[in-house]
Structure formats: structure tokens, C-alpha cells
């Protein structure tokens, strides 16, 4: 495949979703991945497919569409990636948290999010181990979860069956263009000729954009995740404090943390989600682990006696206005970006891929995607 219709850079969940979408439309797609499949942020993700943490706006529209597309994809490719509508529960105890929660809930409901309000008794029936001082909660049955690495790998498997090719250990070192736009992509070993390139490299998207001579302001926002020994049935949903939504929306470079706690199929419990902008720094920070553990115990006191098995970290692709970058580059015709989804990349991948495919194929989309356009950064560069 020397001259594919499309070259997708990055074999994470975003690259996989774009590849599947375009292969289904009959295009010849070549995926170039510098490491192995899902070796970037997808491999460090929890697999969140959330609508609950989205404030009303274009991202919520994208999230609702994407959530349903995940279930369609699961049907299409025969599952295999542990997709489950686990449901999210946002809990609150302080008056402040409570009023924030109520505000968020009412406006989300008006915009198509399904929410059931839980009183204290209902909350403690649904999540018996939640701390007794939490008195209000909102249950989001649409919130779902998947195993993101398997999701990406199975989408790529399906795409290969439709004619796509995936090259791993193929680092892109140059993207060239001519008067008509993008013309070729060079790896350390080979040169490929194409008129369409999709930059799906997440946290590394600005590096790849720079190869073409363009600019994207995407930087890493580090997060740690704690994984416990199997402790089945202690935590049944994805549970987090109402303050979490405020943290996601914060632009502060300093540490933001509010625990998101969830049980998984294998019985382990995952605890996220710290957020800090420290570049690609991999140094373990014990004080963050400590804070996450303390916050998780505040939600579920029973967790104090559960053993921590491992910790890992990942780098979310952070855009300064917290919106993903989806669409054609402002300077280079044929260069498309789908990156910068921060902590929501797994959930938003299928609908983002749909928007990209619509733009490539000249189709009308389910939403106005101009809020996501890379053009919004054009003046800054």
C-alpha cells in the first residue's frame, strides 16, 4: 500500500475509530504507529464513556452521539472489548456540592441526558459501601465503560478485514505538501503518497502537526490511576464527587484531584483522577497517590483495608480551551486532526471519527463541528 487513500497516524483508540469509519466507507487506509498498538494514552486509560461529566455544549452533543455509536460498533464487530452500560453516580454532601450538582443536572436533562435523582436511601441501596455522609446523588444510566485497548485493537482488526493496513514501529518523520496540499508521509523506512492524512496522535499531536509545518497547542496533562487487588462488589458503578466536574474544567497547571472510583469486571477497583500539567514527566509522586487514596476512602471508607496492587500514569492530550480538535488544518489541505480530547478520548472517539469522515467524504454531519475546528488556534501561531 504505497499510495493509500488515507494515512492515519496513531494506532490508539482515535486512530482505530477513524480507520474503521473510513474503511467502512470503502477507502484504502494505512495506519502508521511509532510504537505498538494502543501504546500511548489509550493504553493508560480507564475506558470512560461518560456523558455525566460534560457541561452542556458541543462536547455533550458529541458525547451523546459517541456513546450510542460505541454500542453500534460493539454489535458490528462482535464485542470483545468489555463494553458495559455500567452507569455513573455523582454524589454530593456539602451544600455547595449539592447546589452545583442540581444546577448541572437540570441543564443536562434539558439537553438529552438521562438522569435519575437518588435520595439518601436510594443512594445507599445502590452503592451500599458509599460513605454515610453522602446524602444526594444523580445516577447517569448512559455512562458506560469499555476496555479501551481491546476496543482499539478490535476496531483495527475489523478495519483490516475491510482492507486497511496497520504498520507498527513506523515512526513518521516527515509530512510533505505541494500546491494541492498534503502529498506524502515518510517514516524511517519508507515514503507513502497520499492526499489525506489524519493526525490521531493524541498528546503528541502538536509534534506531528509540526512535521507538516502546522501548529496545535496540545500539551500533556498527567493523571495517575491506582489499581487495587480484586475486591468484587464493593463498588458497582463509576462513582465520583460533584467537585470532579469543576476539576475537569479547570485550567490550572497545578494538581487537581477528586477521586473517581469504579469497580471493574476483573474485580479490581480503579481510582483516578489526578490532573496536573507537568510535561511528560514520569516521576512517581507519592503525595498524589496519597491524596487519591484519601479521597477514595472518603467516598468509600471500606477501601481503607483494600490493598493497592499497582499504579500507572498517562498523559491526557490537553487543549487550552478544553475542547477537542477535530477537523481540517487551517493551513494544509488534506491534513486532518482528531486529537486533544483530554480525558474523554475513549468516549468521544467514534463520533469524532464520524465528523472527520464526513468532512473527508463531503457529507453533512449530525452536528455543527465548527467549535472543534483547528482554525480556532490559527491566529495564535
Amino acid at each position: 500500500m504505497k499510495s493509500p487513500d488515507v494515512i492515519v497516524i496513531g494506532a490508539g483508540v482515535m486512530g482505530a475509530a477513524c480507520t474503521l469509519e473510513l474503511s467502512r466507507a470503502g477507502l484504502k487506509v494505512l495506519v502508521l504507529e511509532r510504537g505498538s498498538v494502543t501504546s500511548g494514552t489509550t493504553g493508560a486509560g480507564e475506558g470512560n464513556i461518560l456523558v455525566s461529566d460534560k457541561e452542556v455544549g458541543p462536547e455533550l452533543t458529541l458525547a451523546l452521539r459517541s456513546r450510542n455509536k460505541w454500542f453500534e460498533i460493539s454489535d458490528e464487530i462482535g464485542g470483545g472489548f468489555e463494553l458495559e452500560a455500567k452507569g455513573g453516580i455523582v454524589i454530593a454532601k456539602s451544600d455547595h456540592g449539592l447546589s452545583n450538582l442540581q444546577k448541572l443536572v437540570s441543564i443536562q436533562q434539558e439537553n438529552g441526558v438521562v438522569i435519575e435523582a437518588l435520595d439518601s436511601e436510594q443512594l445507599h441501596m445502590t452503592e451500599p459501601y458509599v460513605a454515610p455522609d453522602y446524602e444526594r446523588a444523580a445516577l447517569y444510566p448512559q455512562d458506560a465503560q469499555c476496555q479501551p485497548m481491546l476496543a482499539a485493537a478490535h476496531m483495527l482488526k475489523q478495519a483490516r478485514a475491510l482492507g486497511a493496513r496497520v504498520e507498527v514501529r513506523a515512526r513518521v518523520i516527515a509530512i510533505t505538501s505541494d500546491s494541492q496540499g498534503i502529498s506524502s508521509v515518510r517514516t524511517e523506512k519508507e515514503t507513502f503518497y497520499t492526499r489525506i492524512v489524519i493526525n490521531a496522535t493524541g498528546t503528541w499531536a502538536s509534534e506531528v502537526a509540526a512535521l507538516a509545518g502546522s501548529h496545535l497547542p496540545i500539551s500533556p496533562r498527567r493523571g495517575f490511576i491506582l489499581v487495587t487487588h480484586p475486591a468484587p462488589n464493593l463498588v458497582r458503578h463509576k462513582v465520583y464527587d460533584a467537585d470532579y466536574v469543576a476539576n475537569v474544567a479547570s485550567s490550572d497547571a497545578d494538581l487537581q484531584s477528586s477521586a473517581v472510583v469504579e469497580g471493574t469486571r476483573s474485580g479490581t477497583i480503579l481510582i483516578g483522577a489526578s490532573r496536573e500539567r507537568v510535561g511528560f514527566n514520569s516521576t512517581l509522586n507519592i503525595s498524589i497517590l496519597r491524596l487519591l487514596a484519601a479521597q477514595a476512602i472518603a467516598l468509600f471508607p471500606v477501601l481503607a483495608n483494600v490493598q493497592l496492587l499497582r499504579v500507572y500514569h498517562g498523559f491526557r492530550p490537553y487543549a487550552p480551551d478544553h475542547l477537542p480538535v477535530i477537523g481540517e488544518d487551517s493551513r494544509f489541505k488534506g491534513l486532518f486532526h482528531s486529537a486533544g480530547h483530554e480525558g474523554a478520548g475513549i468516549g468521544l472517539a467514534p463520533a469524532s471519527a464520524e465528523l472527520i469522515a464526513d468532512q473527508i467524504l463531503g457529507k453533512t454531519s449530525f452536528m455543527d463541528a465548527s467549535a472543534f475546528s483547528p482554525h480556532r488556534f490559527a491566529e495564535q501561531s
Binding site: A153, K157, V166
Partner: protein
């Protein structure tokens, strides 16, 4: 103050050398007593119990004496039962450890890592049956809990360690129904020079054998359970030099325990979390890179013993002496020229011992043919129950190309052991399936374990109390 992690031969000798040179030492040992795997469970005190243990291992006396040196030295503080769960680098080095159910943190300027090694395992059909274990586990049961792994035991695999284990088990009353060394004696002739120079050690090895009969060129290729699920017999086969089974040579040997081990894997978790430079050891598996003073790529961190290359207790003792002296010199601000002679003398001994150790590693090597004994149903990862077939399928269908993608897509190495047992195997299987050579980086990429030992979230949340050395 100098902190030493690991109270085996290397850690103990480093402690004594550093203390004798005038430094204060905190020695952290995870188990309840000093001695490490090699001198496992040295007696608390008293000559009588020493004599008792000594019957089990011929150089227990040396361990006993070294232990007493460590315990009686006022400059050394020994903390047994101290499980280091995290080490981080800031301006100083912070060592977090659990002791008596509380997490402490020690803030240290200089650190010696002497974390040793654990048995290397290879998967084979039935290796997950109760009763099948490593030689190290069989020995630990015997020495720490005074429990015999079985009445009729097969000891198999490769390496000089099989002999003392078989000997100990036999002396403790077990019937060794088979002692199988896969590598052939004749390989020694290729190294006859080294053999002559080290004939004493070889004779010592022979002494372990006593009445035991060791068969060379054979391996346990499968284990089989009876109706109760417990081990009933193992199958043993003649193995060629590339570790392929010779046809028509398979026999069944009834037994109730099998101790099967394939040499050792250095325990690099702490070294890796400190970001120390690792290089390929004799058998491609990574080891900590050290200079002539046993200093690692971080000038504050020294390493001694098995983590710098599998080499046995005597080499570990020598490396400990050098590391202890060198670290004390830099701690006390002593000019190295003053102790140069001392270090040079030990360097010569180290060189000789290393040469011998490398020869042993060549003779008792593991060849890739072992993969032909493994069936598709055999579990590669016991913690997460991932079969060889599942791993192979992930390579073919899901695009797995390395151990990391295998972990993410099949869960190998995600369980309780965190890949300590299986990751080495997984790396080799994946390389074999793709017909590529294993590189040291492949192993290194599987070794990232920032938390070395499980701790409860409650203890983590409470935070570590600063430890005040006595």
C-alpha cells in the same frame, strides 16, 4: 547515614564494610531474619541451632558469623520485616517501607541496593498444579516453616542451585525420586581452564550430591494431577542441546512434589523505579550497570550482588565489600586513594569470581527449545490465567508486538505477581512468534513497577512517618 536494601550476602557484607569504614548504616530486610535467599532463615542464636541448620547447608557457618558481625556492630541498625514499597528520588532519596503495619519513610543521601534474585520459572503443562513449585520455594518451606514440600520429590531444571536444594530436602527426610539437570556435564570440557581454577567449588558441588544420583540431559516436561487435583506424577524426557525433546524418551515418575527451576532472575523493581541504567547481562536479561566501585548511573546509589549479574553468594559478598567501602568513603568524604589498595584487592577477587559465574551461566543456560514443550492450553500467566494460545492469538489477531501491548490486550502480567514470574517468558514467546531476537530493552519495558509490595489504601492515605534511625 547509608541505607541498604536487602539483608542477604551482598547487603550484609556491604553493611559490615561500610560500618567498619566509619559510616552509620540502616539495613532494611523484608523477611523476619537476615540471610537472604541464600542463607535463608539463619538461626536466631546459639551454636546448637546453628549446628542443626549447618547440617542442611555446608556454608551456613559463614552466614551465621557474618550475621553476628552485622548484629553486633553498633554502627549498623538492622530492621527486619521492613518491606520497601516505594523509592523515589527528589533532592534526597526517599525510601518508603512498611514495618509493623505502619509506613515509614527514610530520607537518605546514599543507598546500596542488594535486592537479590528470585527463581526463574518456565511454563510447562501442569506447572500450576499444587505441589509444583520452584526450588527456592521448596527450600523456603523447609528452612522457614520446617515443612517438607512432599515425601517423594522430583528436583529438576538447571543450575548449581538444584544440588543443595535436593541435598537439603533429602537430609530432611524426603525421598528424591529424581534429580534432573537439563544441561550436560560435557559442556564443562569447553571451559576446562576455568574448571581447573575453581576445582574446589566443583568438588563442593559434588559433595552435595552424596548418595543422590543426578541425571543430566533430562527435564521435567509436564506435570499431572490425580483425582484430588494434587500432583501425581511428572513426565521426564531426554532433551537435546537446543532443549528439544528427543522422541521415545518420555517416562512418568510418580511424585507428590516437584521443584523445578531455571536459574535466577535479578529483582530489579527498585533499581528500575530509580531509573538506573540497566544493561544486558550474560543471558540478555538486564542487570544494573555499575562501575568498579559498584556505583550505578546515579552517583548516590550503589548496587551489589545478584542485581548486577547472577553470580552466587561469594561474588555477592565481594561486591558488598566493595560497595560498602566505596559508599562509606564518599559518605565520610574520604579520599579514595586512601582505600584504593583495599578496593583493588577485592576487585581482583571480584574479577575472578565473575569469570567463574559467567562460565556457570553459560554451562547452565536455557535454550529457546523449551517453547516446544509448552502446549496451547498451558497458562503463561498464572495470576490472570492467560494461556499460550490466548497470547498467540493476540499476536495474530490484535496486533500484539511486544510485552506491553500483550499486557494491555491479554492481561498477562497484570495480576498479583505483577509480571515478576511471567514477563520474562512472555517477552521470549512474543519474540519467538515473530522470529525476532530478544533485546534487553524488551525485558526492561516490562519491569516498571512503582509499587513493589502491596499496601492498603488506608496506610497509603495516612502517609509515611519519618523514620528516625537510632
Amino acid at each position: 547515614m547509608i541505607t541498604i536494601i536487602g539483608g542477604g550476602p551482598a547487603g550484609m557484607s556491604a553493611a559490615v564494610a561500610a560500618a567498619n569504614a566509619g559510616a552509620s548504616v540502616l539495613l532494611l530486610e523484608s523477611s523476619s531474619r537476615l540471610g537472604g535467599q541464600y542463607w535463608r532463615h539463619l538461626p536466631e542464636n546459639g551454636l546448637d541451632s546453628w549446628m542443626g541448620q549447618s547440617a542442611l547447608q555446608s556454608d551456613y557457618g559463614a552466614g551465621f558469623l557474618l550475621r553476628n558481625h552485622v548484629m553486633s556492630n553498633p554502627k549498623i541498625e538492622v530492621l527486619c520485616g521492613a518491606q520497601v514499597w516505594s523509592v523515589t528520588k527528589e533532592k534526597t532519596i526517599l525510601v518508603n517501607f512498611l514495618h509493623d503495619g505502619v509506613s515509614h519513610v527514610v530520607d537518605t543521601q546514599r543507598l546500596i541496593l542488594a535486592t537479590g534474585a528470585y527463581d526463574r520459572t518456565l511454563p510447562f503443562p501442569g506447572w500450576d498444579i499444587p505441589g509444583v513449585m520452584t526450588p527456592g520455594a521448596a527450600q523456603a518451606l523447609l528452612k522457614s516453616s520446617h515443612v517438607l514440600a512432599g515425601k517423594k520429590i522430583v528436583v529438576a531444571g538447571t543450575g548449581p542451585f538444584l544440588l543443595p536444594v535436593a541435598s537439603d530436602l533429602s537430609k530432611a527426610g524426603a525421598e528424591i525420586v529424581g534429580l534432573f539437570e537439563v544441561n550436560k556435564l560435557r559442556k564443562w570440557f569447553a571451559y576446562s581452564g576455568v574448571a581447573l581454577r575453581n576445582y574446589k567449588k566443583i568438588v563442593q558441588g559434588g559433595r552435595y550430591l552424596g548418595a543422590l544420583h543426578q541425571r543430566r540431559g533430562y527435564a521435567v516436561i509436564s506435570a499431572h494431577a490425580g483425582a484430588a487435583g494434587e500432583l501425581e506424577f511428572v513426565k521426564v524426557a531426554k532433551i537435546d542441546s537446543r532443549f528439544h525433546i528427543k522422541k521415545e524418551s518420555i517416562t512418568a515418575i510418580p511424585c507428590d512434589a516437584a521443584a523445578v527451576g531455571w536459574g535466577f532472575t535479578p529483582d530489579l523493581s527498585i533499581a528500575q523505579s530509580l531509573g538506573l541504567n540497566l544493561i544486558a547481562g550474560q543471558d540478555t536479561y538486564p542487570v544494573v550497570a555499575v562501575d568498579e566501585y559498584q556505583c550505578t548511573s546515579d552517583p548516590r546509589v550503589y548496587a551489589a550482588g545478584e542485581i548486577t549479574g547472577i553470580g552466587g553468594s561469594e561474588l555477592s559478598l565481594t561486591e558488598g565489600i566493595i560497595a560498602g567501602q566505596a559508599v562509606a568513603d564518599s559518605e565520610m568524604g574520604i579520599n579514595r586513594t586512601a582505600t584504593k589498595r583495599k578496593i583493588e584487592r577485592n576487585s581482583k577477587i571480584r574479577k575472578k569470581q565473575r569469570r567463574f559465574a559467567n562460565t556457570l551461566l553459560k554451562i547452565y543456560s536455557v535454550k529457546s527449545g523449551w517453547k516446544s514443550w509448552v502446549t496451547d492450553e498451558t497458562l503463561v500467566c498464572r495470576c490472570e490465567e492467560v494461556s499460550l494460545e490466548a497470547l498467540k492469538r493476540s499476536i495474530k489477531e490484535l496486533g500484539v508486538t511486544d510485552a506491553r501491548s500483550a499486557k494491555l490486550l491479554t492481561r498477562v502480567g497484570m495480576g498479583a505477581c505483577q509480571g515478576r514470574i511471567c514477563s520474562r517468558t512472555v517477552v521470549e514467546v512474543i519474540a519467538g512468534e515473530q522470529n525476532i531476537e530478544v533485546e534487553v530493552q524488551d525485558f526492561i519495558s516490562t519491569g516498571n513497577r512503582p509499587i513493589f509490595t502491596p499496601i492498603t489504601l488506608g496506610i497509603l492515605a495516612e502517609g509515611s512517618k519519618p523514620y528516625q534511625p537510632l
